[in-house]
Amino acid sequence: MIHAFLPFFRWADHTAVAVWIRDSTWIFALLEVFHLFGLTLLLGTLVVVNLRLFGWGLAGHPLSEVASDALPFTIWGMIATMASGALLFVSEAMKCYASAPFFVKMGLLAAALLFTFTFHRYLTKKDAPPSATTKFAACLCITLWFGVGLAGRAIAFF
């Protein structure tokens, strides 16, 4: 099934941007730095919201207020990681094609985005009081996003 995507990976690997990043000694490093800035903002704000959803952390504040304060920064974190991540990807698309952790990461990312902006967002918006459902949703959200980070780190090593 992955074979079907091979032309896309080949195309990405040959784009002018990819060549430009590969030819430079420091652009890749700089992109990694921005990827990490974004990741810090993204995961940090998600931890705060999910602790609250679980009934811990900022328990004295309404869930919807914690979520609305954190959300813009979560989105900025996503923008920074995804923009830098897209450039990192094209610069070594063929390496990613051969990397199992890369596909695991993309699968988890799709699941994490879908869950965060649908059911998770619905719970935080309607100020759902702590219950088995909110606790499960908080754990799932954190597991998915930290799974993305874990699989991402694994691309570099395996």
């Binding site: 490093a29 990694e32 730095v33 990490l36 800035f37 990741l39 810090t40 903002l41 993204l42 995961l43 940090g44 704000t45 931890v47 705060v48 602790l51 952390g57 900022l58 328990a59 004295g60 504040h61 309404p62 207020e65 914690v66 609305s68 304060d69 954190a70 813009p72 920064f73 930290f146 980070g149 874990l150 780190r153 694994a154 570099a156 090593f157």
Partner: protein
């Protein structure tokens, strides 16, 4: 006999002694059995690095929210004191994880870190971040309840927020860059 003598000399080199220079200490750490076993491992080094990065995301991520509140950049509902006190166990756990994993990473590549200019800049930013936090603790935390809930942050506390953001960007940026510069 010759073999045992050369073994002894080699072994002595990896023991830290008081008269050693900082460079020699770093070299001894990197050459120690423990440092070598981390560096040459298949799973341990990546695992420690992962703990370092994820610990960073939790601790600095929460800290960034506090800084954003201080500088007045969009955290409208949650007072700084609540972020500081109610989330303390979480960001402190993250910091401990980050610090311990950082010590292990340094141990395994101490000599390379010694020679890395970016690693030194990272440590300077880290020290500045620490001093900045200490200043905030002494100067602004005791009176926090009086200004925090009103939403009017003293200019000095705002500056602390900006300094913290800059310092941590420096720590993360130069930390990540250290991994590239090391040969």
């Amino acid at each position: 006999m010759i073999n045992s003598e050369s073994f002894n000399t080699r072994h002595k080199a990896s023991v830290v002694k008081p008269e050693m220079t900082l460079y020699q200490i770093c070299q001894a750490l990197q050459d120690s059995d423990f440092g070598t076993s981390i560096r040459e491992s298949i799973w341990t080094f990546p695992a420690i690095e992962t703990v370092h990065v994820l610990g960073l995301a939790v601790s600095v991520g929460i800290l960034v929210m506090l800084d954003l509140r201080l500088v007045g950049a969009g955290i409208r509902h949650i007072p700084a004191a609540d972020i500081m006190h109610k989330l303390k166990r979480w960001y402190l756990s993250g910091f401990i994880a980050m610090f311990l994993s950082g010590v292990l990473l340094f141990w395994s590549e101490a000599e390379k870190c010694y020679r890395s200019p970016t690693f030194r800049i990272k440590l300077i930013f880290l020290a500045l971040a620490g001093l900045n936090a200490l200043f905030f603790e002494i100067k602004y935390v005791p009176t926090m309840r009086t200004w925090d809930t009103t939403g009017i942050t003293p200019t000095g506390a705002k500056l602390v927020g900006w300094c913290s953001l800059i310092c941590w960007l420096g720590v993360i940026g130069f930390g990540r860059w250290t991994a590239y510069g090391m040969k």
